[in-house]
Symmetry: C2
Subunit: 500 residues, 2 copies
């Protein structure tokens, strides 16, 4: 073998894996958006076949020989190719540690679980979902042990989403947040509450909300020739390549804010995928490097842009043009305060920035305890409700608004949740750094967000998976990660809104 | 090898082919419904990989050996298995006659052509589409020659859609139609024209038309857990298995009739796929047997049910409830005449039953002439416009409403069009037979279409590909195909409407 031959074999196999992933992704996207209910069964069979093909190629002798050759001849490779082989071998090591039948069965399990979760959420029927979430959690724990037999399986799991992340680091991170968020929230709650009733007693027709989504996507500079929007139970973003990204939202006709911030949030994810470097396209380095960095981009757009006073100044007149009766006479101050109303609540995706991390903490602790064997799937609703009472002081009235609310576990994303809180904190640190060279508020107010997008593209989006997440963050902000930027931001913002 | 082993190998390979077809179908459906414009490039690569996998499996030595073994041991097989092997071997013979690279390149070509056609139609830009339609026609002609070197390639092409069909038979069929339609149309045109202006000067909001589609699908008894509806430039039906069927429509807010009859037409296709026999599921015999039989079902629902006076009696009050202002004061007689207004026109999918076959004739003659080498792709607009002038007496104002109107050629369906006219005629013969045991009008008027659906299920839907199309038709109607049922129907119906 020569290095050229090895590269050629490697690239061919990667493009086959890419095609299979694309097909599986399209089937799943279709399953969430367009497929009839009973399509799940046939889709499961097809996904199982495709994932079997994918496993066989990823773990094939031919690909392993090519990748090992390249790894042994690193000095002949470009830095990008070197990095690519390193990242591929790491991914492959995980896949190859799992027995083939279990790998394929897991794909089919997730397909079934998605359908069952949708129905269970609709019916408020946790017992229907319990056996599936149990199997998903247990499978993830088993896979983590296959991969790193000598490591705590939940540490392994966290590391799959954010390389280098452990429970120790996550615990310390949440302790740092709690130490400042809990007293701040107490002070805020002692003040008179913001009035957002003008958003709650109106009807916002879905067909006009659809137009509003188009306007929002245009404002944050999403290329619609490369990104479409769909409608799903739970909003998400998926990407097949940098010219084919999808976001979804969920419209409620009694709540215009819910979809508005879903679109901006998912739009942040989409921008990251859409602006991955051209030179990375088709490689394992294309697209977002980790879920935390991904969430840093989505929550940057949603909160640091979308919930800023400047953005409300920009968007309110446009909203009033679309919803003239519903929003007549509303001022920027009223709207700014309404979209930043801080209040312990039930639903994560609707939570304000101040309480959001506590919703994540609940989920993180539950996963940790399950992986440690302290609780079982049957305990999930009880533990969920106890933790919501303890951290947020709210009573969960039903599982639909409790443990069944998110799609992550049914989708197999066990270990994902800390990404949201980490992402928020990464984003706050990026915002502080960005402010040194960009007049963020002026850009937003002008309606031309390109200085903001350009900074994010230069410091985050274009690099794809070229650097590990921690290194990428440090290169972007010029120092080590520090959650104080996030807690400083929260104190300043909510102190001003609530006068405390 | 034993017969059991051969059957097992055969079934495994067929299920793999089924999975690949499902994935390719889902990617194409997504491409027509949800994908952003620039997704076409990546989708092309993925489709090309999947079609390569499919080719390799379908033409593999392993599958060939198993199928040949089974074919040689027919006496050990059930009648269904025997039929399956026969149909599979016939399909495989076609695929295997095409060189692998050409087979894969054709998949990629169709993906590109679909995107180019959409854009060209929008821009009224035939020259942009010309090189693609040229390549598609030429590829089909080449493939037909690979498959049957000694046969006229357009006969081969027609036979791919309807086993046994030839130009001689199709010519005779169209002659029989022309002999009675042309004089009838002349008489009709001499009479005062039906007034449908009340349908033309109103706005029918798309969001209410969507509700109307749901109602129509319910009325014709489509199981929505197994069939969803999407929105595309050109309405179509696709089926991944009998629990996963999709129909699409195109809404125009100034024309409620267009989508109404698209939904009923595509609904007829969907019913055929949804009611294929359970015992055929997952085999090559599942679903519709040919495009003509398929069109007989779609046009049965659209015309013999949907354009009947009984159906208008049933549907008009429901339409008036959805569109109270737009349809205030309209009578059954007015609506019945309006949806049956006969008039030479430009757009096939909007054409009345009387002139419809002439639209098909134009397309059939063009394909025939191209295959015979008498015209080139560049000639298509000119020849199209000449034939519309000759057969329908209309001037085609632009290619958007001319040669670019249909999606068939960009989708590779060259030789498909005669199916529509044949299907209409098959359907009329089935209607005549059905009337012997079913009170069709009473069933429609009652709103419970099950006697009609039951007849179609018993005589057509459940049999899938168990019989060749001509045999299936003869079994259903108890005699040989005769287009006079269709022309009798037209004379009776339009004679009554126009008083001639």
């Amino acid at each position: 073998m020569t290095t050229t031959e090895a590269l050629s074999t490697y690239r061919e196999k990667i493009s086959q894996l890419h095609a299979l992933n694309h097909a599986m992704g399209a089937l799943s996207y279709d399953g969430s958006t367009a497929a009839p209910v009973e399509a799940a069964e046939g889709r499961g069979k097809t996904l199982s076949y495709l994932s079997n093909c994918s496993y066989e190629i990823e773990t094939s002798k031919e690909l392993a020989e090519a990748a090992d050759w390249l790894n042994a001849h690193k000095d002949e490779l470009t830095p990008q190719d070197r990095r690519e082989i390193e990242v591929f071998l790491r991914q492959k090591e995980y896949t190859a540690s799992i027995p083939q039948e279990e790998y394929v069965a897991y794909t089919e399990l997730l397909n079934t679980a998605d359908a069952v979760w949708h129905q269970a959420k609709q019916d408020n029927d946790f017992p229907a979902f319990a056996p599936l979430v149990k199997e998903i959690f247990e499978t993830n724990r088993r896979f983590a042990r296959y991969y790193k037999p000598d490591q705590d399986p939940y540490d392994t799991q966290l590391g799959l989403f954010e390389r280098g992340l452990t429970q120790e680091k996550t615990d310390a991170f949440f302790e740092a947040l709690k130490a400042r968020i809990v007293p701040l929230l107490k002070k805020v709650m002692a003040k008179p509450q913001v009035d957002d009733s003008f958003l709650r007693d109106k009807t916002f027709p879905v067909e006009i909300q659809r137009k509003f989504s188009d306007l929002l996507m245009e404002l944050i500079r999403i290329d619609r020739n490369r990104c479409s929007i769909g409608e799903t139970e739970h909003p998400f973003t998926t990407s097949f390549n940098k010219k084919d990204v999808r976001i979804t939202t969920h419209y409620f006709d009694d709540n215009v804010i819910s979809s508005m911030y879903s679109v901006i949030h998912e739009g942040g994810h989409a921008l990251y995928e859409l602006h991955s470097g051209d030179e990375l396209e088709g490689t394992v380095l294309s697209g977002g490097v980790s879920t935390s960095i991904h969430e840093s981009q989505s929550r940057f757009m949603e909160n640091y842009v979308g919930r800023s006073r400047a953005f409300i100044e920009l968007i309110l007149p446009k909203m009033q043009a679309l919803f003239p009766e519903q929003l007549a006479g509303i001022t920027v101050e009223q709207m700014y305060r309404a979209v930043n109303k801080a209040e312990p609540s039930l639903i994560r995706t609707e939570a304000d920035e101040l309480t959001y991390a506590l919703h994540i903490l609940v989920r993180y602790e539950i996963e940790k305890e399950f992986f440690a064997g302290n609780i079982t799937a049957e305990d999930l609703p009880r533990v969920w409700n106890e933790k919501y009472r303890a951290y947020l002081g709210v009573e969960v009235p039903d599982d639909r608004r409790g443990v069944l609310q998110d799609s992550h576990w049914s989708g197999g994303a066990v270990g994902y949740f800390p990404s949201y809180a980490l992402g928020s904190a990464y984003g706050a640190q990026m915002l502080a750094k960005m402010r040194q060279t960009v007049d963020v508020e002026a850009a937003i107010r002008s309606g031309d967000l390109s200085p903001i997008n350009d900074w994010l593209e230069d410091h985050v989006w274009r690099w794809g998976g070229l650097y590990d997440p921690v290194e990428l963050l440090e290169r972007a902000v010029g120092e080590a990660f520090d959650p104080k930027y996030f807690t400083d931001y929260l104190e300043e913002k909510f102190g001003a809104i609530y006068g405390c």
